[in-house]
Amino acid sequence: MTAAPLLELRDVRCDFSVERGFLRARRTLRAVDGVSLALRPGETLGIVGESGCGKSTVANLMLGLIRPSAGAVLLSGTPIDRMDRRAVAQRVQPVFQDPYASLNPRKTVRAIVGLPLSVHGAAADPGDAARRVSAMLDMVGLPRHLADSYPGELSGGQRQRVAIARALVLRPNIVVCDEPTSALDVSVQAQILNLLLDLRRELGLAMVFISHNLAVVEHVAQRVAVMYLGRVVEEATAAALFRAARHPYTQALLLSVLTPEPGRGIPDARLGAGFPDPLAPPPGCSFHPRCPLAEARCAATAPALAGRGEGEGTVACHVAGALNSAMP
């Protein structure tokens, strides 16, 4: 805990009001519930979890695109909702999952990458803007002649490079990547991942890397937070987490990692029951209906985040907590 966090979520809660149909009462969906996370300079924070666990809501909170219902999102100590939209944009930029949807089909690559410059009036003159766009295309490994192409003429990997160029053209110090490779062909995923890693080193970026793919997160992140139903259930350094997962959910996720080895089939994650209805989360520990280790108290009280025992990090589990305290 040496450097001050660049980006910090402090006990953030985020509710959405969900309409369930004509004449039926609106219900509150708690997408994020009491999440605290910190991103330090130059660090990469991985966030993993199933679909619907609130990963993308966390990304939108970090980008200042939605306001927290409670708690605070701090950018270098300043609450993000008290900052000017464009000041936030200069420091945090996103890379989205689907490069087919994240690029405007009616705009050329040049216009897409140049948009942040023109919105911020960052370029001294049109020539300067053109130079910076070209330099950015070089940096993400796109041939300059593609500058006048439309997204429809590019491959998935090329499109994601355009999206990365757009995110970096303002030279932000934080990039929030929300499943940046999962919409791409397997052969292209590695290229994009390596590009992100190279850029991270070259530009000294801090990154938030959101993914459901644990193998990728292990490769990229220094610290990992595991989310389940809007809460962080375990957080630790990548090395510690992948060596010895404490939370039963993390353990199940690790078991479910698909390997490209043929003949091994789809692994059984031992998660029997399906993902619970986020509109009516289970009482107590929200994971208990699917947990192999669940006890009576798990259905009654929600566990708080506590020390993991081994090294730094935290875990929210009655049983894992007991295991920790039992260990010397």
Partner: protein, 298 residues
């Protein structure tokens, strides 16, 4: 349906314009409709050159001269004359100007109203959407012809009033289509990306969303133009649209209705042209919809 479009070719074709253009050339209805519309437009624009006579010049000695293919025709009046001896060909040509001009003006003006309302409702949603949707529903509950008649009778008939009244009545389809299309667009990641970059809301709507609605806008505009031309003809026929002596096809039908039994060509010619023009525009619009915005087929 051309059948040539794979479902995956939605909005993100290779080069947006080129794909639509290539598919258009292969669509028979679109090409036929466009050809007829172009022909009538050229005729309307070149009316002063093509018309053999002044469309307002009366010649009471030559009243109700039959057209060239009937007995008693005169070479000076290839399509005959009306009850005041005015050359019918000249009046039909100048009438095309009125129909096309009013159709275009109404399609543009109602397009402005409807697009503004639809995009606003679709982008902001919530309460704003509720209010605008209520306005649209209210507008749909009004009988167009009756309200137009009442409004024109109240304000007094003139070309400007006619265009204004029709523009205020015919924007609903724009609003409905643009609202749905905007809702679809605003949830796409490129809009979120623009917000994350710090784009202002007006800029997002105008520069990011509107260009993606152009296809559907053109389709609706075409169909609305046909609708406006028909309404103009109906109002003119009822005497509350274009006023004599300005030549309008609807007015010409009205003026010819006393002669329907013995000189039916007086009604037949403007009527046929009206059908031809509206059919051409509708065929073009349907074709454009097939090619440019297949998702909006209703």
């Amino acid at each position: 349906m051309s059948g040539a479009l794979a479902p995956s070719e939605g909005i993100a074709g290779p080069r947006p314009g080129a794909r639509v253009l290539a598919a258009s050339a292969r669509h028979p209805g679109l090409v036929a409709g466009l050809a007829v519309l172009l022909l009538l437009t050229v005729a309307a624009l070149a009316a002063p050159l093509l018309a053999p006579h002044d469309p307002y010049a009366q010649d009471l000695a030559n009243r109700i001269v039959p057209p060239a293919w009937m007995d008693g025709a005169k070479t000076a009046h290839p399509l005959g004359t009306d009850h005041l001896g005015r050359d019918y060909l000249s009046r039909l040509l100048y009438g095309a100007r009125v129909s096309l001009g009013i159709g275009l003006a109404v399609a543009l003006l109602s397009g402005l109203i409807g697009t503004a309302l639809g995009v606003t409702a679709g982008y902001f949603g919530g309460r704003i959407d509720m209010i605008i949707s209520f306005v649209v529903t209210t507008r749909l509950a009004l009988p167009i012809v009756l309200v137009a008649l009442a409004a024109v009778a109240l304000v007094g008939a003139s070309l400007q009033t006619l265009v204004a009244v029709m523009a205020l009545l015919l924007w609903d389809r724009y609003a409905v289509v643009m609202r749905a299309a905007t809702q679809q667009m605003r949830s796409r990641a490129f809009v979120t990306a623009a917000r994350a970059v710090g784009c202002s809301t007006p800029r997002i709507i105008v520069a990011e969303i509107l260009p993606n609605l152009a296809n559907q806008l053109i389709v609706v505009a075409t169909l609305e133009m046909a609708q406006a031309i028909l309404l103009e003809a109906a109002l003119s026929f009822l005497g509350l649209g274009v006023q004599a002596p300005i030549p309008s096809w609807g007015l010409m039908i009205a003026e010819g209705k006393e002669h329907i039994l013995f000189e039916p060509w007086l009604i037949f010619m403007p009527g046929a042209l009206l059908v031809l023009l509206v059919l051409a525009i509708n065929t073009l619009g349907d074709g454009l919809r097939d090619v440019a915005a297949p998702s909006t087929r209703a």
